[in-house]
C-alpha cells in the first residue's frame, strides 16, 4: 500500500461526494441557513424552559429540539447527508451500542428491575 502524492488524477478531497469546487457555493448557502436555524432553535430551547412545563413534557421537548439541532450539525456540517456506506455502517453499530446504554437506566427505573 503506497500513497503516491505525485499522481493526483484520482486524488480527492474526501468530503462525502463533493469533489467539485463549484458545488461548494451551494453548500456554503446551506451552511449559513443551518447556522441561522441552529441559532433560532437555541433561543427556542431557552424560551421553552421559561414556560416551566411539567418535567416529563419539558424533557421531551428539550430532547426533541436538541435532536433536531444535533441532526442539522451531523447532516450538514459533518456531511453525513451524503457519506460513504462504511461511515453509515460504523454509525449504525455505534447507535446499536449507544441507545441501549441510555435506555438501560430508564428501563430499570420504570420496572424497578435492577434497582429494587
Amino acid at each position: 500500500m503506497t500513497n503516491d502524492h505525485t499522481t493526483t488524477d484520482h486524488a480527492t478531497m474526501d468530503h462525502g461526494g463533493m469533489d467539485h469546487a463549484a458545488d461548494i457555493d451551494k453548500q456554503v448557502r446551506i451552511y449559513i441557513t443551518v447556522f441561522v436555524a441552529l441559532m433560532a432553535l437555541t433561543i427556542v430551547t431557552v424560551a421553552i424552559s421559561y414556560l416551566h412545563l411539567p418535567t416529563a413534557m419539558a424533557i421531551t421537548v428539550a430532547v426533541l429540539v436538541a435532536t433536531i439541532k444535533g441532526s442539522l450539525v451531523a447532516c450538514y456540517f459533518m456531511h453525513l447527508i451524503s457519506e460513504k456506506k462504511l461511515i453509515y455502517a460504523v454509525l449504525i453499530v455505534t447507535a446499536a451500542m449507544f441507545l441501549p446504554l441510555l435506555a438501560l437506566p430508564v428501563i430499570t427505573h420504570r420496572n424497578g428491575f435492577w434497582i429494587h
Binding site: 500513497n3 437555541t42 439541532k69 434497582i115
Partner: protein, 196 residues
C-alpha cells in the same frame, strides 16, 4: 514511513484512511459521553429530589456559550470550504475565528466555574454538581484539544498547503469533524444540565 491513503481513497472503503480513522474515534467518543449521560440519567431518576439546573447554574452565560460554539462550528466548516475554493487566506481567517471562539467558550466557562467555587459549590457538594463538573469538564478538555489541533493547522501545519493541498484539506476536514462533534455534545449538554 509514509502514511497510506491520505490523498487517494482506498478502493475497498471508498474513503481516505484519515476519514475512517476520525469516524472510528468519534464512535468511541459517543460511547464515552454515552456512559456519562447514562450515569446522569441513573443518578437523576434514582434521586428523591433533583434541582432544576437553572436554579443553580447561569443560563444566560451558557446560552451565550452555546451561540459561541455554534458560531465556531460554522466558521470551521467555512474554513474547510475556503480550502476547497482554493482560498487559503480566507481559510486562515475562518480558522483563526474558530480558534478565537473556542477560547471565548473556555473563558466563559472559567468565569462560571470561578463563581461556583466562590459560592462554595464543588463537585463533592452534591450529585448534581458532581455530574455537572464531570460532564462540562470533560467537554472543556475536548474543546481545548480541538483548539490545539486547529491552532497547529492554522500555524505550522499549514505549510502542507504548499506541497500537498489535497492532503491538507482532508486534514482540516477531519479536524472539523471532531470540532463539530464537540459542538454536538454541547447541544445535548446545555438543555440537559442547565434547563431541566
Amino acid at each position: 514511513m509514509e502514511i497510506p491513503y491520505t490523498v487517494e481513497v482506498r478502493r475497498d472503503t471508498g474513503l481516505t484512511n484519515g476519514k475512517i480513522g476520525i469516524w472510528l474515534f468519534l464512535a468511541s467518543e459517543v460511547m464515552l459521553f454515552g456512559a456519562l449521560f447514562a450515569s446522569y440519567i441513573l443518578i437523576r431518576t434514582g434521586a428523591e429530589h433533583w434541582p432544576r439546573g437553572d436554579s443553580i447554574l447561569n443560563v444566560p452565560m451558557a446560552t451565550f456559550n452555546t451561540l459561541v460554539l455554534i458560531g465556531s462550528s460554522v466558521t470551521m466548516v467555512m474554513a474547510w470550504a475556503s480550502l476547497v475554493r482554493q482560498r487559503f487566506d480566507t481559510y486562515r481567517i475562518y480558522m483563526g475565528v474558530t480558534i478565537l471562539l473556542g477560547f471565548v467558550f473556555l473563558v466563559v466557562k472559567y468565569f462560571e466555574y470561578s463563581h461556583k467555587f466562590h459560592d462554595g459549590l464543588f463537585p463533592r457538594t452534591n450529585n448534581f454538581l458532581a455530574i455537572y463538573f464531570t460532564l462540562t469538564g470533560l467537554h472543556m478538555l475536548h474543546v481545548a484539544g480541538g483548539m490545539a489541533v486547529n491552532a497547529y493547522l492554522w500555524g505550522p501545519g499549514a505549510k502542507l498547503w504548499k506541497t500537498n493541498p489535497v492532503w491538507f484539506t482532508n486534514r482540516v476536514e477531519n479536524s472539523g469533524l471532531f470540532w463539530h462533534f464537540v459542538d454536538l455534545v454541547w447541544i445535548f449538554l446545555f438543555p440537559t444540565l442547565y434547563l431541566l
